[in-house]
């Protein structure tokens, strides 16, 4: 005698087994044969699931027609043609190319001309060093006052430097430096911004 109906889970197991072409659990299968309400519930469940599947499948198949699938197939084949051919990479001149250039240079130019090139480069270097040294020498021989305005160029007052009385100009510059130092922000984080920011006083003074 039967006392209980099948639970939904058991019904669903039977449905899955039937879909996969397997034999459902024998007690459950026997019960479905004997019990009318459970058989109806099983039929409802099957109809619902099959309906969903059929509708979804039909919808997709209506969109992906034979022609569309053929076109898709064609596009896949076309894309596959590029799979084994990666994009061409232009190599940065490496050891081989450097060797090639070196070899071509040595073979194409004569020893005489390369010697001339080396001599010209050495002469150029020598002349450059000599001119630079003589320039520095003459600069060092100048009076120390001549350098005074250049040392603190961005902070100095050019108007004062050009004045007649050099001593008073130096004093003015010193006081001006003090003023600037006092006006500067005291917050360390702001010093960098301050250094980059043009000040109104510089603009006025440089005019």
């Amino acid at each position: 005698m039967r006392h209980q109906h099948l639970l939904e889970e058991r019904l669903f197991e039977c449905y899955l087994a039937e879909r996969a072409g397997e034999r459902p659990d024998p007690p459950a299968a026997d019960h479905l044969v004997d019990c009318q309400p459970c058989a109806e519930r099983y039929a409802d469940l099957s109809a619902f699931m099959d309906g969903l599947q059929a509708e979804g499948t039909a919808e997709a198949d209506a969109i992906f027609t034979h022609d569309r699938l053929k076109a898709q197939h064609q596009r896949i084949v076309e894309r596959l043609l590029h799979v084994a051919h990666p994009a061409r990479i232009i190599r940065f001149p490496g050891r081989r190319s450097v060797d090639f250039v070196r070899r071509s240079m040595t073979t194409s130019t004569s020893h005489g001309s390369s010697r001339w090139i080396a001599a010209a480069a050495a002469a150029g270097l020598f002349i450059g060093v000599a001119v630079g040294a003589s320039y520095n020498y003459s600069a060092h021989n100048r009076s120390p006052q001549a350098f005074a305005p250049q040392v603190g160029a961005p902070l100095l007052n050019p108007v004062a430097v050009r004045g007649d009385n050099q001593q008073s100009a130096a004093d003015d510059a010193f006081l001006s430096d003090l003023d600037i130092a006092l006006e500067r922000p005291h917050t360390r984080e702001l010093l960098a911004f301050d250094a980059f920011t043009p000040h109104a006083r510089d603009v006025v003074l440089n005019r």
Binding site: F12, R41, F48, G56, A60, F64, L80
Partner: protein
């Protein structure tokens, strides 16, 4: 839960054929592994892999065309149900096939080709869904194109406007209900209903235990019946 098949560490599609992964042993134990008879598509995939390894690419491409023919329709169904957009589904299927060919060297026969391919396809679809949801935060979501809608309506044989409207509403309701499923439930449901996969195959694809797959399927069906008004008679 996103339903992404890469949630398990060994579930990356490209690495899917790795024999070292512990899942391979579990699959063999379940009979999906090498003990099971090799299917036609798996045999072709092995041949293609060997051809690629021998650098016979033209022949490999030709053989791959056969695989495309075998799986194309099923793949399009699954991708369409995931994405609900014909063009995007089309692209997802193409991408999956190209990816499979590019990584055919890493394919191992311990996995049926169908399982390997479906994992790659679904991961691609999930990526596209994610990208779309990001886009939709900023743009209005696109609807099913009129041409696709017309194709679906005419394919069903009825062309009267009322029937078209009702059918369209029903499809939208089903799609919305499926979309409300939890990520894994949705994946499992789609693979079962539209991919024609058995719980054992779904287990291999998702890395979930087979009994877990059955539970997800049951819950998905129950939820859909509740949402769509399917009759659920109490005993």
């Amino acid at each position: 839960m996103s339903g992404d098949l890469r949630t398990t560490p060994d579930a990356h599609p490209v690495d899917a054929g790795d024999d070292r992964a512990p899942r391979s042993g579990r699959l063999s134990a379940k009979g999906v592994g090498p003990a099971a008879p090799v299917s036609e598509d798996t045999r072709i995939a092995i041949e293609i892999r060997d051809l690629v390894q021998r650098d016979q690419l033209d022949e490999a491409r030709e053989r791959f065309g056969e695989l495309v023919t075998i799986h194309q329709r099923r793949a399009s169904r699954i991708a369409y149900q995931y994405l609900r957009d014909a063009s995007e589904a089309d692209e997802a299927v193409q991408d999956a096939f190209v990816k499979v060919f590019s990584h055919i060297g890493s394919y191992r026969e311990a996995w049926p080709f169908e399982v390997w391919f479906t994992r790659i396809l679904i991961n691609g679809c999930l990526d596209r869904r994610k990208a779309r949801s990001r886009r939709e935060r900023w743009f209005v979501a696109g609807e099913v194109s009129a041409a696709d809608e017309a194709r679906v309506s005419t394919a069903k044989g009825r062309t009267d406007p009322e029937h078209k409207l009702l059918a369209r509403e029903r499809r939208a309701r089903v799609a919305a209900a499926v979309d409300r499923l939890d990520g894994r439930q949705r994946t499992v449901f789609m693979l079962s209903q539209y991919g024609d996969c058995t719980p054992k195959e779904i287990s291999a694809m998702t890395g979930l235990n087979e009994s877990t797959v059955r539970v997800h399927l049951f819950r998905a069906a129950r939820k859909l019946r509740g949402l769509l008004g399917g009759v659920e008679k109490k005993p």
